[in-house]
Symmetry: C2
Subunit: 141 residues, 2 copies
């Protein structure tokens, strides 16, 4: 992962130690500090050309690896690598059928993905969330 953000120790700079800056409405306080980790696991899993294409393909139903193979133009070794990432993310499920392995989109995959989007709360609540700053930023004081 990258930087772990502010979630954790790091005694320097708690909250409320701004040097007096800004103060205009565009500097509000936290409303709902959602945990980014699970969302990022999902988003990073789909933010890849091969994996995105595989999921797109699985959207219309179950496919064996050999079929997916024919549509992404990567080595089967590499495809396996990407499929494992999708499995680990819980976005797909597998079942063996004779010599072949079938991949299926997890039933809750789409729902989990939409919820993983930043600002996804606005999707369900219905509020369009647009320039919610109370005082309109007092242009050029």
């Amino acid at each position: 992962m990258t930087q772990l953000l502010k979630i954790g120790p790091k005694p320097t700079k708690e909250s409320a130690d701004k040097p007096s800056s800004c103060a205009s409405g565009a500097c509000g306080s936290a409303p709902t500090p959602r945990d980014p980790a699970p969302a990022l696991d999902l988003l990073q899993a789909i933010a890849d050309p091969v994996r995105w294409t595989v999921l797109e393909r699985l959207a219309d139903g179950t496919h064996c690896v050999c079929d997916l193979q024919a549509h992404v133009d990567v080595s089967n070794t590499l495809l396996s690598y990407h499929l494992r990432i999708l499995r680990d993310a819980g976005l797909v499920t597998t079942s063996r059928r004779g010599r072949w392995v079938d991949y299926t989109l997890a039933t809750d995959a789409l729902a989990r993905l939409t919820e993983a989007l930043p600002a996804a709360s606005s999707l369900v609540s219905g509020s369009s969330a647009q320039a919610s700053s109370p005082s309109p930023a007092a242009a050029t004081p």
Copy 2:
């Protein structure tokens, strides 16, 4: 980018040259070969802890950089780097207010993100798309 997938020249292996493999229902043909590139630009832009958190924060309205700064615990240089990626992706817009720069979520950001999800077509069409293979894969012949 990573591999560009099959979209492009590459004379080896067109379609319909499967060595006779599979043939069971779980190996169908392409229904809608959507272009992954624009979707991936968006998804890669949000699949990062800092950028995800920033967007989540912008979901409730405009914020200046100095405010975003207080919530992600990265250097201002690094925050600028991430903000530029969000700008380039067209997910946020900026406006200068005196000494400060305000960032606002693009009005179509959420809509574009939901459409960028793989299998997003199923979201609008309403079909739940589940195991569309006609013949039930004749388990263990």
